[in-house]
């Protein structure tokens, strides 16, 4: 089994934190005149939300069907990851059901009823309104020629299918696209950020060389935050269940709030997923989102007309102040900065 560098980095940070504390203690002891401050108050940690991934599979060749969990997505051809919706019901949520017609030839999705169809399974609990930042209206579509209903992500269009939006909202995903890129160039540098992975910085070109690694969603250039321990770890790009060998429709990228260029500056914001969803009962079909946090960047190329110098500003939004935390910017480069050559030395 291959080892994820990001997991190692996070484990290593525990050692780094210990090291920092030791250094500060020594400095205080040598200073002689400083007073020990009172311990900081314990800070409230917001509660993340467990989500379900809605997938679209194809049953019997033409019946595009929404599903959840591992059984059907493993049994039928997987076509797309379409939305994240909450795993549990609440007063501001509705119930999304899958229904099936009488001869079993078509499945559809509804929050009410559909004439000629009966209940098949409960899919999840999308929000009833768009009051949650980052959500989009679920788009059920109907193909009258083949009489097939299908749930489509906002970025998708399928020939012959006419949208029939549902009164339900979830975080939009990107079908089976691995990349939805936003590119900007200035000062001899071109950067590309990827909306599928929380808008994180995906590629960085200078003089024909691409510098960044995106082997999973713990790499790239991105921000991360820690609520005191490595388990409470919102990540800008997504979670660790994103290794390159995994089907793209199974990967968990963080939903995007903002994704745009203005002049030489690229602005991206994400609602971060927890790096390890298992810490909150999640798994490959259940990402866990910190829906009261935002992580993102302003990336200003050609900073102060210095050419290939960029100012990288991490933006963090927290619902309440905290001291038992740290944030960091992670950059993963390929092992060799120049493709096709062997790295013989690393200078620092």
């Amino acid at each position: 089994m291959k080892f994820d560098c990001s997991e190692r980095m996070r484990r290593y940070l525990i050692i780094v934190i210990w090291f920092v504390v030791v250094i500060i203690t020594i400095e205080c002891a040598c200073g002689g005149g400083s007073q020990t401050p009172p311990p900081p108050p314990k800070s409230p940690v917001p509660t993340p939300t467990v989500l379900r991934t809605l997938y679209r599979v194809v049953v019997t060749g033409t019946d595009r069907t929404t599903t959840i969990g591992p059984n059907e997505r493993s049994s039928y051809p997987m076509e797309a990851q379409v939305y994240y919706v909450p795993d549990q019901g609440a007063s501001d949520r509705t119930t999304l059901n899958r229904v099936v017609n009488s001869d079993g030839s078509d499945h559809a999705d509804t929050v009410t009823t559909l004439s000629g169809y009966s209940q098949d399974m409960e899919l999840g609990f999308p929000w009833s309104t768009n009051s949650i930042p980052g959500v989009a209206q679920l788009t059920e579509s109907f193909n009258s020629t083949i009489r097939d209903y299908a749930l489509l992500a906002p970025s998708e269009s399928l020939a012959g299918y006419v949208p029939q939006p549902l009164p339900a909202y979830g975080y939009p995903r990107f079908g089976n696209a691995a990349e939805v890129l936003l590119s900007t160039t200035a000062g001899g540098v071109t950067v590309q950020s990827n909306a599928v992975a929380g808008g994180s910085t995906w590629r960085w070109f200078w003089n024909g060389t691409q510098f960044l690694n995106h082997g999973d969603y713990g790499r790239e250039i991105q921000g991360a935050f820690y609520f005191g321990t490595s388990q409470l770890n919102p990540d800008e790009a997504g979670d660790f269940m994103t290794m390159r060998t995994l089907d793209q429709s199974l990967k968990h990228g963080s939903p995007v709030l903002r994704f745009e260029n203005q002049g030489n500056t690229q602005y991206t914001r994400a609602i971060p997923l927890n790096w390890d969803p298992r810490q909150y009962g999640g798994d490959q079909d259940h990402p866990v989102i910190w829906d009261s946090l935002v992580l993102g960047k302003d990336l200003a190329l050609n900073y102060q007309n210095l050419g290939p110098v960029a100012q990288y500003t991490t933006h963090l939004v927290l619902p309440s102040a905290t001291t038992r935390s740290r944030t960091l910017q992670v950059i993963c480069s390929p092992a060799s900065i120049v493709f096709g050559r062997t790295m013989r030395g690393l200078r620092s």
Partner: protein, 117 residues
């Protein structure tokens, strides 16, 4: 710098350090292609508590952009108890530079002279 993959079970081969003004430069052997990160310590008005770097030359699967092998950096703010992260929005700056090794060094000097934070 030690290879993190060759280190022991509780040693990941990383390297962490503190500077008031400075950063990390990674380069190929010729110095023709380099990438640097520059930051200023929190005590000097910047956003960096410490810089960290790792080398994971573990699998030998080449230098492609999706390879498992990689090198990594981080610029961290806060160590768990020492700073207040406010409610609402806050921002943290570093500077990224790609050029020859010589020019990345020169641009870091420029940033220092300019008082970039």
């Amino acid at each position: 710098m030690p290879n993190g993959c060759l280190a022991g079970p509780n040693d990941f081969g990383g390297y962490a350090f503190f500077v008031d003004f400075g950063g990390i430069i990674m380069s190929d052997a010729s110095g023709a292609n380099a990438m640097g990160i520059y930051g200023v310590s929190a005590s000097r008005g910047g956003s960096v508590s410490n810089l960290d770097m790792w080398k994971f030359d573990c699998w030998g699967d080449g230098p492609s952009e999706t390879a498992s092998d990689n090198t990594a950096w981080s610029a961290a703010y806060g160590n768990g108890t020492d700073v207040l992260f406010p409610a609402g929005e806050s921002t943290y700056n570093v500077y990224l530079i790609t050029d020859t090794l010589q020019n990345v060094t020169a641009r870091m000097d420029d940033l220092f002279q300019m008082g970039a934070r």
